[in-house]
């Protein structure tokens, strides 16, 4: 399990490094005086690729760890990703519904879907948070937050 992690990260970062190096080659390597904009990214890309290879190689010969907790970690990651999708959805709604409503919806979603509490808890948390944020940040501090059609 553990060396799969290293392989995965190694491959991701290695390909990222190659991408960076390629993009960097399109930029001028030297400029009028000294290194150009392509200089640093190129070496960063090369460094990323080499170190990723090192990571992969170092773990190809590592021993296999027991895979007992595989299913549990899958659901764990799943939950985190569901939560993350909720966050991204809320961010998407910021433009249309404004901060207050989006936060309320996100809170309700997290409480209901992830924590499986009762709808009453969800609504009160959502309402309370949205009110609290509005009171502190918008009214007391005068920050401007994305406002929806109803002005909050």
């Amino acid at each position: 399990m553990s060396e799969k992690k290293e392989l995965l990260s190694g491959i991701c970062l290695g390909s990222f490094g190659v991408y960076v190096a390629f993009e960097a080659l399109r930029l001028p390597y030297v400029s009028e005086f000294g290194p150009g904009p392509g200089f640093f990214p190129l070496w960063i890309g090369i460094g990323l690729t080499l170190l990723s290879l090192l990571l992969i190689v170092a773990n190809l010969f590592a021993s296999t760890a027991p895979e007992s907790s595989k299913s549990q970690s899958r659901t764990a990651i799943g939950r985190a990703l569901v939560g993350w999708s909720g966050l991204m959805l809320a961010i998407g709604l910021l433009h249309w519904l404004g901060f207050g409503l989006s936060l309320a919806l996100l809170a309700a979603f997290l409480v209901l879907a992830l924590e499986r509490r009762s709808p009453w808890v969800a609504i009160s948390v959502a309402f309370g948070l949205a009110l609290g944020f509005h009171a502190i940040f918008v009214l007391a501090l005068g920050l401007s937050l994305p406002a929806g059609p109803w002005g909050f």
Binding site: K5, F16, P28, F33, P37, W84, I91, L110, A126, L141
Partner: protein, 503 residues
């Protein structure tokens, strides 16, 4: 002595009821601003500028300066309690501070942060008072090669931040360096890695990355399992909510380290409090008797960076008040304020306006005392935040993160990026990549590349300029020594093992 006369003059100005009031307003606002992630002292000072036109100038600068150094006190609060960096410089405080909170030691962590801030902040003011002009002149000798050497020295801190796997630490650092390079190249006006997005022309904001990778990722990790109602245990009783005498004794070196490093870095224009906190943390770990414990909740790991980012404010005021050169965004606005009020900042400011200068300096002593008195009693209060059921806390943290990011640039694009970096931070946690080196790389990447290219521009491409100048050569030697250290240790332990096996 002249200084005593100046101090008396200063106190006579600073201790008037009007100036005391404005000092309090400033430090209070500063603390609030520091606690809120994202919103920084620079923006707050700019927003309050119009109000200062009608005020007495000395009172106004006392208030604005209060916001500036006050914000460094508050920045540690959310870092320790929620792993949300309240201020860029507080990122380092998250490393050990949050771990301390998880072990039920949030109180001592918050307390030591306030005390370290007070001690180092006061030392910074003493430095400003006593050695400002000669230190400023010394700082002028720092040209691009010296800055490069300093940034390189900063990057070697990765050795102290990488944890178990050096390879992963280096990889994270390289990603951070790449992130720093996104945007418009200063020297050629070419766009790098902007993916055609106008919002990326100025690069990625550090606040977005740090809040995403620390705060949002932490929430995502905690979402993995349904737990009990409390985030982590909150200690009861005042004794457990404050640092013990032993804690204070342990932190002696950290106080000194934070004060000195913070002040010196602050004097250099453009260096910044984040670099100061990283260097201070690294130095603390290097000279500690139990370096391997850093990152798991060591109190010196909170005291050193928190002290450093406070004495840095004293240092940053040195070039501003003695030369008229601002060292950072916040000091640039203070400079603009002085100009708007008709006071000319420059080498003759102290001569022309002794009341203003000495009044300001002494008000900073007073301000630091006020801040200690304000912040220490608040520690038990803040620690209660951890009692909030975590299903309320998590959406709350996400909300604070969004507000924090949005308050910096009013850009929804930045909020999207916050989400992306949150996912990146989560992936890094699952794949065991340390976050601190990435942040380190991002903070230093810009400065490092710029300083190198500036140096080469100035020396017609000769790299030797970095070694022929004494200051930069010295720093590069220290950097190399730090890099070689782990290898030497490995060889040493290998030899010890070999000897043991022989016996």
């Amino acid at each position: 002595m002249e200084s005593i006369g100046n101090l008396l003059l200063g106190f006579s100005v600073a201790l008037t009821p009007g100036n005391l009031f404005w000092c309090f307003v400033g430090v209070f606002l500063g603390t609030v601003v520091g606690i809120l992630p994202g919103l920084g002292p620079a923006a707050t000072i700019a927003m309050l500028l119009p109000l200062t036109f009608k005020m007495d100038h000395t009172a106004a600068i006392i208030m604005l300066a209060g916001i500036y150094y006050g914000s460094k006190y508050g920045g540690s609060t959310t870092s320790i309690l929620l792993n949300v960096p309240g201020e860029s410089a507080s990122v380092v405080t998250c490393l050990d501070g949050y771990q301390m909170a998880r072990q039920g030691r949030a109180g001592p962590a918050l307390g030591i942060a306030a005390i370290a801030s007070f001690v180092a902040g006061t030392v910074g003011v003493i430095g400003l008072m006593l050695i400002a002009p000669p230190v400023a002149r010394f700082a002028l000798r720092f040209g691009p090669p010296e800055y490069f050497a300093l940034m390189a020295l900063g990057l070697t801190m990765v050795v102290f931040l990488a944890g178990k796997s050096m390879i992963k630490g280096l990889l994270a650092m390289l990603v951070g360096l790449w992130l720093a390079g996104v945007g418009t190249d200063l020297f050629t006006a070419e766009s790098r890695f902007t993916f055609g997005q106008m919002e990326l022309l100025d690069g990625i904001d550090f606040v977005v990355v740090s809040i995403g990778i620390f705060a949002v990722a932490e929430v995502l990790v905690n979402m993995e399992s349904r737990g009990g109602t409390e985030l982590f245990k909150v200690p009861r009783g005042i004794r457990n909510l404050m640092p013990t005498l032993k804690d204070l004794k342990d932190c002696r070196f950290a106080f000194l380290n934070g004060s000195v490093i913070g002040f010196l870095i602050g004097v250099l224009p453009g260096a910044g409090s984040t670099i100061a906190s990283f260097l201070s943390y690294g130095a603390e770990k290097a000279f500690s008797r139990y370096p391997e414990k850093f990152g798991t909740g060591v109190i010196e790991g909170v005291a050193a960076p928190e002290g450093a980012n406070n004495s840095e404010t004293g240092g940053a005021l040195v070039p501003l008040l003695t030369l008229g050169i601002p060292g950072s965004n916040a000091t640039a606005i203070l400079l603009a304020a002085l100009i708007l009020w008709g006071i000319k900042p420059g080498p003759l400011l102290i001569q022309d306006n002794p009341g203003l200068f000495w009044g300001l300096v002494t008000s900073m002593y007073v301000g630091n005392v006020m801040l200690l008195v304000l912040n220490l009693p608040l520690v038990p209060l803040f620690a209660q935040i951890l009692r909030v059921p975590y299903f309320v806390l998590y959406p709350g943290i996400l909300g604070i993160s969004i507000v924090g990011v949005y308050s910096v640039s009013n850009s929804l694009f930045d909020v999207w990026m916050l989400g992306l970096f949150g996912l990146l931070g989560y992936a890094m946690r699952k794949l065991d990549f340390p976050a601190a080196p990435l942040v380190l790389g991002m903070v230093l990447g810009d400065g490092l590349e710029r300083a190198l290219r500036q140096s080469l521009m100035m020396s017609e491409g000769r790299l030797s300029v970095l070694i022929t100048r004494p200051l930069s050569a010295a720093m590069i030697c220290v950097a190399l020594a730090i890099l070689i250290m782990p290898l030497v240790n490995k060889v040493r332990s290998f030899r010890v093992k070999a000897v043991e096996q022989d016996v």
